[in-house]
């Protein structure tokens, strides 16, 4: 009897220690230390607009069912195996958007996935890629967003079943899968390659869709860029590595052309969410699309998971 009680007490203590450990380890401040903002130079609005466009911010955050892609009222539903996310209002509206945010709030959100209120964001918001942009670039995007129209209204809450509705769980996910460093150029590669690597992996967040994910929703790094089943539902996301059924037979010019016009070398026109990606990438200078093509041509051939 005494032994049973001792066992019970031990179990309760262990459980409490476990919960405490979970609580400490998933603290947004522990998982995502704020980056150094320091004293940034005056924002470059042109660069902010370019990165905002390359980042496809409006593709998720623009108010659905209206034509002005710069009205960032949010509300678009994004399906996933974990539930449905609703992109929030990121217009500069002081009550419903991010009008009250400071630069540091925005940089923290984009680089560490932590909200000004100190909560974890779900990685449906691809801060896992955006974090590659240095604080200066993120501050430029923030300054650009602040020039756009404030939009009233809030998006519906995410529809997530337990345990995904607990944001602390994302803290554990970050410990396992999130790396917080900004992009570091590879000095052995050309300037164009580095620009392409930055655009593809950072703002462009191409791997977020063009990779398959594990049971916990993290990108399987071994098959990064190798495509796979579309997590949003029907269809397949193409392999964009140099595999024979990927971009192996495409020239740099053909990749750049697709990013500008949406046409493949056989003059098929890409559909689904890639159509919006093309509309965005078409606004970049030719040199940026060619840089992305140069980087993609350097990716080793990887076979993606089959349906």
């Amino acid at each position: 009897m005494l032994r049973l009680r001792r066992l019970l007490v031990t179990l309760v203590l262990l459980a409490a220690a476990g919960l405490g450990g979970f609580y400490v380890l998933t603290d947004p401040r522990v998982v995502s230390p704020s980056p150094e903002i320091g004293t940034l130079p005056a924002p470059d609005l042109e660069n902010g607009k370019l990165l905002f466009t390359a980042g496809g911010c409006a593709s998720c955050h623009a108010t659905p069912n209206q034509d002005d892609k710069l009205r960032l009222g949010g509300g678009l539903a994004l399906g996933s195996p974990f539930g449905t996310f609703h992109a929030p209002n990121i217009s500069p509206h002081t009550r419903d958007g991010i009008g009250n945010w400071g630069v540091k709030d925005f940089v923290d959100a984009m680089a560490t996935g932590v909200s000004p209120a100190g909560q974890h964001y779900y990685p449906a918001f691809p801060y896992t890629s955006y974090r590659l942009m240095p604080p200066k670039a993120l501050a430029d995007i923030f300054a650009y967003i602040r020039t756009l129209a404030p939009v009233e209204g809030r998006a519906p809450a995410h529809e997530l079943p337990f345990p995904f509705n607990i944001r602390r769980v994302v803290g554990g996910w970050k410990l396992l899968f999130f790396e917080g460093a900004a992009f570091k150029p590879d000095p052995t590669r050309s300037e164009a390659w580095n620009r392409g690597a930055y655009l593809v992996n950072g703002p462009g967040h191409c791997a977020e869709c063009h990779s398959s994910r594990n049971a916990l929703g993290a990108i399987v790094q071994a098959t990064r860029f190798a495509g796979g089943p579309d997590p949003e539902g029907k269809g397949t996301v193409p392999n964009i590595t140099q595999a024979p059924d990927g971009l192996g037979k495409w020239s740099k010019e053909e990749i750049a052309e697709l990013l500008k016009t949406g046409f493949t070398p056989s003059f098929d026109s890409v559909g689904g969410t890639m159509a919006a990606v093309v509309r965005n990438m078409a606004q970049l200078p030719d040199s940026d699309r060619m840089a992305m093509a140069e980087y993609l041509k350097s990716l080793p051939a990887v076979q993606g998971p089959t349906k």
């Binding site: 029907k234 397949t236 003059f267 689904g272 159509a275 093309v278």
Partner: protein, 143 residues
């Protein structure tokens, strides 16, 4: 010998037509391939890779118009799946919007039906090909 070839050819054509009718997925794929081929010709002219030729330019829009007329009828309920189709379920959920997209495509294509100069061709070709991505965005799944 020539007669044999001709007969075989005619039979072959007839057979293809019959097969296409009984296989809407194959037929819409062929129709879209023709659109892609016309776009290849058009893009080469628009970029100046080949010289502008009014009859070739008009032929591009003819292919577009024909496809725009034919496509809406190639999506019976029996063809929602199969044959590696990339048709989105939205086609059947929103028939009105789907058909309207082809009405717009046909209108944009007919605007180029009588182009005579390169500048006019570029404008009409640009407008017509904007329909590709716009329609695929909604009515086609990722591939």
């Amino acid at each position: 010998m020539i007669r044999t070839v001709l007969v075989a050819g005619v039979l072959g054509l007839g057979l293809t037509a019959v097969l296409a009718q009984s296989d809407p997925i194959a037929e819409r794929r062929n129709t879209m391939k023709a659109v892609g081929g016309a776009t290849r010709d058009g893009a080469a002219m628009a970029k100046g890779e080949v010289a502008f030729d009014a009859s070739k330019a008009q032929a591009v829009f003819k292919v577009y118009s024909d496809a725009a007329k034919k496509m809406p009828g190639l999506f019976p309920d029996s063809s929602k799946t199969g044959g590696e189709t990339t048709a989105s379920p939205k086609i059947w959920e929103d028939q009105a919007g789907f058909k309207a997209a082809f009405v717009k495509f046909e209108a944009d294509a007919s605007a180029g039906a009588s182009v005579t100069d390169l500048a006019g061709f570029r404008t009409a070709f640009g407008n017509a090909t904007k329909n590709c991505g716009g329609c695929h965005e909604t009515y086609r799944v990722k591939k």
